[in-house]
Amino acid sequence: MTGKKLLLKALKERGVKYLFGYIGGAIMPVFDEMEKLGSFKFIMSRHEQGAAFMSQGLSRASLSTADPQVGVCMSTSGPGAMNLVTGIADAHMDSIPVIAITGQVATGVIATDAFQESDVVGVMMPICKQTYMPLHADEIEKTIHEGFYVATTGRGGPVVIDVPKDVQNEQVSDSYTFDQATFRPHLPGYFYSPTPEREPVQRAIELINKSERPVMFCGHGVINSNAGELLRQFAEKVNIPVAFTLHGISAMPADHPLSLGMMGMHGTVEANRAIMDADLLISFGMRFDDRVTGKLNEYAQNADVIHVEIDPSEIDKNVRTSVAINADVYRTLHVLLGDPMVGYKPRRRWLQKIEGFRRVMEEDLKTEIETGVGDDNKLLMKSIIAQLSDLTKGRDLIVSDVGQHQMMAARFYNYQTTNSWYASGGAGTMGCSLPMAIGVKLARPDERVWSISGDGGFQMNAQELGTIMEHNIDVKIIILNNGYLGMVRQWQTFFFDGCYAGTPMRSPDFKFLAQAYGIPHRKVEKLQDIAPALQEAIDHPGAMVLEFICDPAEVILPMVPSGGGFEDMIVSHPRKHNDNLGQEGEAA
């Protein structure tokens, strides 16, 4: 048995069906063996970053299915591995289990600046959950199995396995044995505690029962532990409104009466105002990042905080907790739901107050969505998303890129099914959408998948149209083309006196680009053409590119300026208001 054979055997045993990647010298033995085996479906990306995001998409979308899979991407050494970096760092920030297998130069020449040698372990170490470099064929199986274990347990994350070329070809020793069934990784320093302890749960229940103005937070941990349905039941049981982090979206229906929508920088008025006034925050699987909290010393001043989180290092990191429950969100909700002491309260005054917050922007937004166009009769993104939502009844899978369109897709699509929203959150990596959508579609082939990008982000991984073409992957591609790096332009409007440095952009004719890959394209410029175009894409059996010409002046509101508190929330466009907009923002 050789290293490469054992590597593929271990992947097979871990249920891997798809391998995303790109070949090169240092990974050739594994590719050769893979081709001969014929038991994997190989998806060649057009850039290794694409492969990393495809594997993310597969992991993210399949976790709530009967067949959860871990995305695996492969690349060669040096430039191949370095092209994976952004996608791996992104998976790390968003706690997505992914396995990256990189070829490395042969052990005999490591650290000699050999051709296409990069210190992959050194580069990846701070941006992934664990790195390995097996130095003998005997270590390969153990390493792969341990890698999957680390990637998928506790708080998930990417694992990088750098395999020197000679180790891929090496024969195992005569005495080699490995039994997958009995293998337990030896990790005396790796702990995670999924089961909540009684004592903090009891204290949490006391706080919940005592509170008058509680708000519940739904973070990525709810999606990752498949606890959306339990969260809904619990929210209803205690009658507490729920605010969502960007990655908590779609855990429960967006239009649930207790839903406050998204919180944070571009969160809804009702979510952010409720948080300001709350006396208790009950947060499930989230990490209070700066996009969520704004200025920390002004954040939720009068609230006790219950923090349910699988990663102990997140507890007390940004926000002081009153009760910490270091456990899996699903198990904790299960315990809470079963506890007879947790009671329903009408909370009439609190919920009424929140109804008032809901009304602050409701009219404005409704009018904007209905008008559907901006100054030059160019389309408004929020209107397009709202129409997409209506047409698909909020039941499709949405994979967004990064920018204004992302915030629009987060806010104005009426998510009905759990785990149906995907985006790059922690890293905010432009270009993630198109490749990630490919992985999502492979994980959930029976559902409709929309990739939504801006004109900027689309061009960061547009080469993956080639992958879509080659494998006939049916993703509906929406480009919201506003001719600008819109999100940064919005910051320039608000904080840099409208000096649009480095944000206007000329794009290619996306029609020819799509056609070059044999993908039909429709350009939509009129309000009344939005729905028919969306319908055409729905009816078309296969990928289609819909390009919408959007108003560059559209902004996503409200907005809490970076470094500001919720008090500084901007709720109307500066053109309409001469508010002093406060301090300069840092880069978007």
Binding site: M125, Q130, L187, G189, P312, S313, I315, D316
Partner: protein
């Protein structure tokens, strides 16, 4: 700034020191001292890191994030009231033997070698402050070369 000693037990694997020091750099500390040695358990190293931080919450953050590494088995802070912090210095001193006699009994030192009439290599062990005081008293101007181990610490 308050000086902190963090004690970590880690697997004796390549790259672990790299991870630990990278985290401390990422959190923007400058390591004061760092000592690594074997522990009683085969395959497990003992690391003592000292750095400056006043805020207890921040020290707890470092500890939790260190504990997150799969190779790190346990981490805790050792404070000076409940632990011994000691280091060793080897010093090449240009002094007469008579000058050194004054310090016997008061400092824990040993002459390793007398190289010439006025050139001694000595070894002194004690707390950081104790060694500093010794050197001040002997006279820093007499120090030709000095090697200090950095702090290692043990709970009382």
């Amino acid at each position: 700034m308050k000086r902190r000693a963090i004690l970590a037990f880690t697997l004796d694997h390549p790259g672990v020191l790299n991870k630990v020091s990278m985290l401390i750099r990422k959190k923007m500390y400058n390591v004061d001292t760092l000592t690594v040695c074997r522990s009683r358990i085969p395959g497990v190293s003992r690391m003592t890191i000292t750095l400056q931080e006043d805020d207890q919450a921040k020290v707890l953050q470092i500890i939790k994030q260190l504990e997150k590494f799969t190779e790190v088995i346990s981490v805790k802070e050792l404070d000076t009231n409940h632990s011994y912090w000691r280091e060793v210095a080897i010093v090449k001193l240009e002094v007469d033997a008579g000058h050194l006699d004054d310090f016997h009994g008061r400092y824990n030192f040993e002459v390793l070698e007398q190289k010439s009439e006025d050139m001694h290599i000595i070894q002194v062990a004690g707390s950081t402050r104790n060694i500093d005081a010794f050197l001040d008293e002997v006279g820093q101007e007499h120090v030709v070369e000095i090697a200090r181990t950095g702090v290692t610490a043990l709970e009382k």
